[in-house]
Amino acid sequence: MPIVKLQQVTYHYPFTEKPALQDINLEVEEGEFVAVIGPNGAGKSTLCYTLAGFIPHFYKGELKGIVEVDGVLVQDSDLSDWVLKVGLVFQNPFNQISGAKYTVFEEVAFGLENSGVPRSEIIRRVEEVLQMTGIADLADRSPYSLSGGQQQRVALASILVMQPKVLVLDEPTSQMDPIGTREVFGVIRQMAEQGMTVVMAEHKVEWIAQFADRVIALWEGKIYLEGKPHEVLTDERLVEKGFGVSRYTTTARLALPRGLWQKERPLPVTLEEAVAGFSALRNARRKQG
């Protein structure tokens, strides 16, 4: 029984002719980590807003088809109830700060105060989440004084603390350095292991390959490709449609016709896979002569 179910979903933003999403069919199992890739304007953010209930509750326009989470239709639910079930972290960290709080600790607690969680539990959960997202040392700082990457961690912590069943992330690491990105992907993977369902729009394919269970490639509002991360991320059709492709995949693809990549070996997405592939080839050649 999938927790997220989208059937024949088509959506038009108000006053637009072209649909932002078209005939989307998607099922996500509980505890699954699904990554959504696509060029700019492919509909990644729109898909995130749809899952999180902001379409149709916040953005008007025309939504057709079925959007169902945990057995409830989005149209039958209030947005304020929906957000407790589906958490949304979006891209711009600065605008995700509530503006009503003076410290990171209070900022992360904001969602729990609104949902009426008792004080002692708020404190316990906020402390736990700050540890997990690696910002415990920032607890007393003003959220406005932080760097973009730190603010993105605060935004993630602020949603994680509410313990939603489904976590929707729209490029949550766009302002982070590689170390921060790895840590955040690690935390999100860990949440998925614990049973949280994750849908994440992201450009960083090398990290997707390592952490996601499934990849969906969106193109012009439609699902273009779908499958295991490696199958999708190394698919040749991504290149012609202008998707971001890992530089390691590109390198191996160039090496292949020159006999510098073994034909039977799948194309790499990450650095480790590329190194393993090139070393294997070198070792094989050494053995031959």
Binding site: N95, A100, E106, G111, E113, V117, Y144, I159
Partner: protein, 259 residues
């Protein structure tokens, strides 16, 4: 960037421990008598016998007297000079300076008025120094103030330094593209156009995302809200509030009675 977004100074003091609403009542419990009670020396006595000791009671005398010398005294002083010189009437002429006449009556009137302003600004200063804005809003929300209202107040307080920071970023960006912001007055006024546009429209676009962000945190949830901050409302607070209300009523009555 701006790390300090409020005037609040964290200390352990009797004034800090008071409930925010009690302190807010105290502010008006000082202002009303200062303006209403007909006895001439009321504001002066309030200032010396209540406001100054309160600053020490709240352990914020350092910050308070800095505010006095930098802000309150110059403002009240200016008001005093203007009123003393320009208020007409009075018979006891003390000095004549070209077309200005200084009379004893106008001098006394200006002195009382300046001290009234001194009391008013001081009470608010002390209030802000000893009350965290979040604490005030949590307390008022729990007493039935709509959450949206509290949010607007706090967010406005926070947004001013951010707007300043953003304005200076836009100015730097436009100047790096050759915008003249330093020559003649007319040029400077012209230069405002490409600054105000991005600032205002940028802020409007941000409002949409901000709305999504707080909505995603259950802001419009109908469940009863809780508060991270523990706010005490002791019997002392309730007693003080009643006392202050009586004082306010008494000053109102005295005003009507003796005039």
């Amino acid at each position: 960037m701006h790390e300090r977004l409020s005037f609040y100074v964290k200390r352990e003091s009797a004034l800090h421990q008071l409930n925010p609403l009690t302190k807010l009542t105290l502010v008006f419990g000082l202002i009303l008598p200062a303006f209403l009670v007909p006895f001439y020396w009321t504001p002066h006595l309030l200032l010396l016998l209540v406001v100054f000791p309160l600053a020490f009671l709240g352990k914020v005398q350092g910050e308070y007297f800095t505010a006095v010398t930098k802000l309150i005294l110059p403002a009240a002083g200016f008001l005093f000079v203007m009123q003393a010189l320009f208020i007409p009437g009075g018979e006891t002429v003390l000095a004549k300076l070209w077309f200005l006449t200084l009379t004893q009556e106008s001098l006394m009137y200006a002195f009382a008025n300046a001290v009234r302003i001194f009391v008013m600004v001081s009470s608010f200063t002390l209030f802000m120094l000893t009350t965290h804005p979040s604490e005030l809003m949590s307390d008022l929300t729990q007493r039935g103030l709509p959450g949206q209202f509290a949010y607007v107040i706090i967010a406005t307080l926070q947004i001013i330094p951010q707007m300043q920071a953003k304005a200076s970023t836009i100015i730097a960006a436009q100047r790096s593209r050759g915008l003249d912001t330093e020559s003649s007055f007319a040029r400077r006024v012209q230069a405002l156009v490409p600054l105000v546009g991005p600032l205002v429209f940028g802020s409007l676009v941000e409002v949409e995302e901000r709305a999504i962000a707080i909505e995603a945190r259950g802001f419009t949830s109908r469940r009863p809200k809780t508060s991270l901050r523990e706010i005490y409302d002791r019997p002392l607070d309730k007693g003080l509030r009643w006392l202050l209300i009586l004082i306010m009523l008494a000053s109102l009555v005295s005003r009507i009675w003796f005039s």
